[in-house]
């Protein structure tokens, strides 16, 4: 296998050959022997500044399914790409408020009532009964005593929602990605900056998009197959 590849056609072929063994187990509703569909095009840049300018051009071109990949966070890139802010904080807020409420209801029910709830017949073990128990002469429904638990559940719900919400919204965990097949793309964790335009983008046309990416003065443009 060649270690350095300059001709773009060779790169395309190479990434296809690497991609094949990996995608064999990957279900796309295709038969194993069929030719891979194109994933998209990547353009390589060697400075964050060049990437930023390129990102602005790609954005104004009206692409929707595209991304920028960098070795480290680049300030202002979100703006250049026109990425909207995530709604995760709003979800986390309501999860936290839910934690507060859940903790209060749980404690008020179990510590200060003797209500029973009856589970369906097929779940006899789940009958739950409140157990009013007098502690140091406080009223049964004592908010100050409940607050530490309310606080903890707020944090717990909010933290779990943050982590798993982030995972879900990013489509993680993702064990395989077509870009991993490109040797060129490996330098994204070191010193190179990439723009990826996906083939599923409605504006994606193999030849036209490639010409557009080349007009951004990248070091190289490479086609990636799924």
């Amino acid at each position: 296998m060649p270690t350095t590849v300059t001709a773009e056609r060779t790169v395309t072929e190479m990434s296809s050959t690497i991609a094949h063994p990996n995608t064999a187990g990957h279900t796309h509703g295709e038969s194993a022997g069929a030719k891979s569909r194109p994933y998209g095009l990547i353009a390589e840049f060697d400075t964050p500044g060049a990437l930023m300018h390129a990102a602005e051009r790609v954005k104004s071109e009206g692409f929707r399914y595209w991304d920028a990949c960098t070795p480290f966070p680049v300030h202002g890139l979100d703006k250049a790409m026109g990425i909207k802010r995530t709604i995760l904080p709003v979800i986390v807020f309501f999860a936290g408020a839910g934690g507060t409420t859940a903790a209060f209801v749980l404690q008020a029910f179990t510590n200060s009532t003797n209500w029973s709830t009856h589970a369906p017949d097929w779940l006899p073990m789940l009958d739950v009964t409140g157990y009013p128990f007098l502690i140091s002469g406080k009223p049964l429904l004592s908010l100050p005593a409940f607050i530490p638990v309310m606080f903890e559940l707020t944090i717990l719900f909010a933290a779990l929602t943050t982590v798993f919400g982030m995972f879900l919204m990013n489509g993680l965990p993702q064990l395989y990605h077509p870009l991993f097949a490109s040797r060129r793309f490996a330098r994204v964790t070191n010193d190179r900056f990439f723009i990826v335009v996906e083939a599923r983008d409605p504006k994606f046309l193999r030849g036209k998009t490639e010409a557009f990416l080349k007009s951004l003065n990248p070091i190289a443009v490479e086609a990636i197959d799924e």
Binding site: M52, P73, H75, G76, S136, K138, P144, A145, P148
Partner: protein
């Protein structure tokens, strides 16, 4: 937009005002604040000491202590901000560090507002009006049971046998000396760095920040024990120092935000302080002023509520009877719940106008919090009741006297003097930490 922290790149973002201080700008405002401050303090003293408008002398001294602690808290908050930036070697905050240093530099003169009036109070032998332990004879007469508790710790106040409260005074002088020294060192070294570019100054400040933090923590804790907690000498809470520190952080961060907005409105630091810096200052105000305050306040309350020991619970009971009940709830909602919901989002912290309204709100509640700490007196017979409801009924007509004009006259006096001195510093000193190695980083700072 790569991060070129070259020294030439950020010079254009500083206006001439940033390098020289405000100069003639603000001279008339400074004069106005000085007259307001001195006039209101004089008027307050006249009213309080002559008993005009039905103000008793002990009420006057408590009210004076509230407003003194308020401006002290703003200055201490500024000092806390400064040394924390050095302790963490923060880059983002360099453009707002000088305003914080200038707030803290008020600690170089603020001792006068404590030592002169309270020295005079002691000289007249009337210290017992404010701090009951300073008049043991009256204490013994009024409440012998409480005296037995206080007798055991009287050595904490009077140790050397010179006069009642000699050790208390020695500590007070030590606190003021520590604060003035710390504020002076940080401002002075920062100015020298700007003047000469000698980076040994920043290295020194970073090293000095660690012992400064320890001195600050101990002095603030014990000062709050001495001056505020000992107003009810039988009561004790080890949480109290942290609670007062939290008030300092609230007032300091809110004051810093307002000072930055004010400086920008007269054309200083206009291109240096950006939305990003306001957002971070807003985060600090949110974290310390709202969340941490509630955390500490509740931590102190819950242990006492649960243990239910009379000499501890009376302090809170005195803050639940009569007008103090609604007052405590106003504090809970105004200091925590309302601003917490208001400032939890990103956008209000990124709008200087909204943020400065929040800062004014938090300053108001920092003052209210001090009022709540200092003004209530625990009635001597509060422990005789068997039930909460009986005590509650007996003292249902207790008034907070919050709207008594003397409270606001003294507040205006203190804030006027404080504003006068802060503005004086802003006119005399450069408003940006020039030649700080992280100035470029701070000018280009962006939140993720």
């Amino acid at each position: 937009m790569s991060h070129s922290h070259s020294t030439s790149g950020h010079v254009q973002r500083l206006t001439p005002l940033d390098k020289t201080g405000l100069g003639d700008i603000g001279a008339s405002l400074q004069l106005g604040l000085g007259i307001l401050g001195a006039g209101c303090l004089a008027l307050g003293l006249l009213i309080g000491l002559n008993g005009w408008m039905g103000v008793s002398e002990d009420f006057f001294w408590r009210s004076y202590l509230v407003s003194f602690c308020f401006v002290l808290a703003i200055s201490l908050g500024g000092l806390f901000f400064v040394f924390v930036q050095h302790l963490t070697r923060a880059g983002w905050s360099v453009v707002v560090r000088r305003p914080a240093e200038l707030l803290a530099s008020n600690l170089r003169w603020i001792w006068a507002l404590w030592i002169i009036p309270f020295g005079w109070l002691w000289f007249r032998g009337k210290a017992g009006l404010l701090w009951p332990w300073a008049d043991p004879a009256t204490m013994k007469n009024n409440n012998i049971a409480e005296w037995h508790l206080i007798e055991k710790k009287i050595g904490y106040f009077s140790l050397f046998g010179l006069f009642d409260g000699d050790f208390f005074w020695a500590r007070a002088i030590a606190y003021f000396a520590i604060w003035a020294f710390l504020a002076h060192v940080f401002l002075n070294r920062s100015l020298r760095l700007g003047a000469t570019g000698d980076r040994n100054n920043i290295a020194f400040m970073q090293k000095f920040a660690a012992p400064a933090a320890i001195l600050f923590a101990l002095s603030v804790t014990f000062a709050s024990f001495d001056w505020i907690m000992s107003l009810s000498p039988a009561w004790f809470s080890t949480m109290f120092g942290v609670y007062f520190f939290c008030g300092c952080a609230t007032a300091g961060f809110a004051g810093l935000i307002l000072l930055c907005v004010r400086l920008q409105s007269v054309g200083a630091l206009t291109h240096a302080i950006t939305t990003e810096h306001y957002q971070d200052m807003g985060k600090l105000l949110f974290a310390f002023g709202m969340v941490f305050w509630a955390y500490i306040g509740f931590s102190q309350y819950m242990l006492i509520w649960y243990a239910n020991v009379p000499e501890e619970t009376t302090w809170f009971l005195a803050r639940q009877v009569g007008g103090w009940g609604p007052f405590s709830l106003v504090l809970l909602f105004g200091h925590f719940i309302i601003p917490f919901i208001g400032f939890i989002s990103r956008w209000p912290k990124r709008m200087p106008l909204v943020l400065s309204l929040g800062a004014i709100w938090m300053l108001a509640f920092a003052w209210l919090d001090l009022y709540w700490l200092i003004m209530p007196r625990i009635p001597h017979d509060l422990t005789q009741f068997e039930r909460f409801s009986e005590a509650f009924a007996e003292f249902s007509d207790t008034s907070t006297h919050f709207f008594t004009p003397i409270n606001f006259i003294l507040l205006a006096g203190m804030v006027g003097l404080f504003g006068f001195c802060t503005l004086r510093s802003c006119r005399a000193y450069p408003l940006v930490c020039e030649r700080d190695p992280r100035l470029g980083e701070s000018l280009h700072f962006e939140n993720m």
